[in-house]
């Protein structure tokens, strides 16, 4: 399906709009309260951006430190260059552990490397432990948001889904009863999993720790009881030390949900030690590049590696708010997805993403690490133009216009003619239908030019 088709589908779905508006609207309002109450938010995000930029500029250095410290803590570190390598490593680890079932704590990187599919191929049962991911799994869909994967569903739709799929579904139509239904359905499967798989919100170099944040405590329940804990993490998740992680955590939750912190913020340093009461016997950390080191070396993309996956850009994006996440077609939706998807999945099939943006700058304004998202999107537009991916009609039209703009005398003639032509089409000041401008007049009227260009009138001596 093309981008245009996905957009049409999304716009034709009135329930989707309600669902997106409920969650994103609430997130927007709560974020504002949290950020307004945060002392010197602007300074904090400048520092956050500086922390990430420093790590990105010194990736190799911090990766080595992280590996050394993670290994010293008893974890095994694996390196994956591609999504394929990463999922193969994870599947091999699951097989080596004799895993029949894995408990998975929501991770967008897992989606990026195709882990759900790879586990199914390997015949390993996957128990999604994040409530929204559980919903997505029951519905056999893909996440539509990086923080709320089931954002596109209303609670009414989820209720019907639970009633159809849960062993012992809720009766009462309350959120509490629905959560209980999911808990009954999931708890046993979760606790009996052989392997727990999580992502990482941060990799802390000087201790070799990984950090997860959740609001449901499902990461902890996913990775502590099983014998083996596998972490999949993008190499850009590195921070030098705990204080750096804490600084970013203060911005992450506020930007995502408006909370000061998530309900659960956990740090894991190596597997179970001899005197620990619980924890996995093995901890594997799969460090995944999948195009990230190439992005770090690319001036038009490296700032994207600052991203801490809060979702604020999409919550505040007028396009996302209309079409939801699935329309973007990649793992990551919204403005950050529009930058990442061409890098991950190729530009030619995804050239629309960078263009389907009004360049209003709201995404950068709310980004806790000040990623210049409009600039990065424009970078993709330029690349698309250079590589000849833009439609010929667009190139020719713009080329003709450029030749006029660069010749003021010709431009004056052309603009005067255009004004005259448009006035012929006008009735009572408005143009209801205009050849070649149906994209405008299909949806709104065009105010007719008032007659005579400014430059022509000024040249004739008009001054007011």
């Amino acid at each position: 399906m093309s981008f245009g088709q996905r957009v049409d589908l999304a716009l034709a779905d009135p329930i989707l709009k309600i669902a997106v508006e409920r969650t994103a609207g609430t997130a927007e309002a709560k974020r504002k309260i949290a950020v307004d109450a945060f002392p010197a938010f602007e300074d904090a995000r400048t520092r956050a951006a500086a922390i990430k930029d420093h790590v990105i500029a010194n990736l190799g250095h911090y990766l080595e430190i992280f590996e050394t410290n993670a290994v010293a803590a008893g974890a095994k570190v694996h390196w994956a260059r591609t999504a394929q390598e990463a999922s193969t490593i994870v599947i091999d680890l699951c097989r080596a552990a004799g895993a029949k079932s894995v408990a998975r704590s929501k991770s967008m990187l897992g989606e990026e490397i195709g882990l759900p599919h790879a586990l199914a191929e390997a015949g390993i049962t996957r128990v999604e432990t994040d409530l929204a991911e559980h919903i997505i799994q029951l519905a056999d869909e893909r996440p539509s948001h990086i923080v709320w994967p089931a954002m596109h569903k209303t609670r009414e739709q989820v209720s019907a889904l639970f009633k159809a799929k849960h062993r012992d579904p809720h009766v009462e139509e309350t959120i509490t009863a629905m959560a209980e239904s999911a808990r009954r359905h999931l708890r046993t499967e979760m606790l009996s999993a052989d392997v727990g798989i999580s992502g990482a919100n941060f990799l802390i170099a000087d201790s070799g720790s990984i950090c997860t944040v959740t609001n449901e405590g499902n990461a902890e329940l996913s990775v502590v009881p099983p014998r083996v804990h596998i972490v999949t993490a993008g190499i850009e998740k590195l921070v030098p030390s705990m204080p750096h992680a804490i600084h970013l955590l203060r911005l992450l939750a506020r930007s995502a949900t408006g909370a000061a912190l998530t309900q659960y913020t956990s740090f894991y340093t190596g597997p179970k030690r001899a005197d620990d009461r619980d924890g996995p016997e093995e901890m594997h950390i799969v460090l995944i590049d999948n195009g990230r080191s190439a992005m770090a070396a690319d001036a038009a993309l490296k700032e994207m590696l600052r991203c801490i996956r809060c979702g604020a850009c999409m919550n505040h994006c007028v396009v996302f708010r209309q079409v939801g996440g699935h329309a973007y077609g990649g793992t990551y939706p919204g403005p950050m997805g529009a930058v990442l998807t061409p890098a991950l999945d190729g530009l030619s099939a995804n050239r629309d993403l960078a263009h389907a943006c009004t360049m209003n700058g709201r995404c950068q304004e709310v980004c806790p690490v000040n990623i210049p998202l409009p600039t990065l999107l424009r970078g993709w537009r330029e690349r698309s133009w250079r590589e000849g991916l833009e439609p010929q009609t667009m190139r020719q039209g713009l080329g003709l216009w450029r030749r006029l703009v660069l010749r003021p005398w010709a431009y004056r003639i052309a603009s005067a003619n255009a004004v005259r032509a448009m006035r012929v089409l006008a009735r009572g000041g408005w143009i209801k239908r205009m050849p070649l401008a149906g994209a405008w007049t299909d949806h709104r009227d065009m105010p007719a030019p008032t007659g005579g260009t400014f430059m022509a009138q000024y040249a004739k001596g008009r001054r007011r």
């Binding site: 190139r395 450029r402 994209a439 030019p449 260009t453 430059m455 000024y458 007011r464």
Partner: protein, 251 residues
Amino acid sequence: MTRPTVALFVTCLVDAMRPSIGFASLSVLEDAGYDVVVPPGQTCCGQPAFNSGDRAGAEAIAKATIACLEPYDAIVVPSGSCGGTIKVHYPEMFEHDAAWLARAQAVADKTHEILSFLHAAGWTPDGVTLPATVAYHDSCSGLRELGIKRQPRAMLGAVAGLEQVPLAGAETCCGFGGTFCVKYPAISNAVVEEKAKAIEDSGADLLLSGDLGCLMNMAGKLHRRGARTRVFHTVEVLAGMADGPAIGEDA
């Protein structure tokens, strides 16, 4: 005593679609104590090329515009979007070219969006009366690239009889986005539909903003929906020209 001179960069949209915004600009700038010249070689700032990915085309147009504007002490633009292109994006375009970067930066430094320029000059409308309620939309480039928010509201506060009413989502994009609105008409329509509803819900007689592109988009949607809201560029109101035809009204 000689009056300082400013150059008016009219913008391509005002030039073709609504020259009255240009004449309103002349009027308020003269009232604020400036002599205004209109550089004859001006056409478009090149933003359509820049935002379409045609970087070479954008740079060629930027160079022509810089050459056209650099002789003047100050340049005033009745648009946050075109003003932002010159002030913010021209220097970005020439990061790789020291000679042009210096020229781009010099022009950027002396280019001003008209509402922020007038406000910084301490100007307020004198003797302008407009008994109407007004909703104000913050056009995105002006708001986020140039920090235009309180300046127009402060100056409108000096218009007798004018009452500013709150507009829900005043800082939310109207869905125009230059060529975006014709490249992705269905998305643009959904966005401007919400904007139009918010404007209607405000109950305001007038919708104002500082960018003609956004204004045409919102006015066109309001008219298609049968709304009675009249739409003007802020500078037209400040110049006392709101007794004339609003956007889309016949003279």
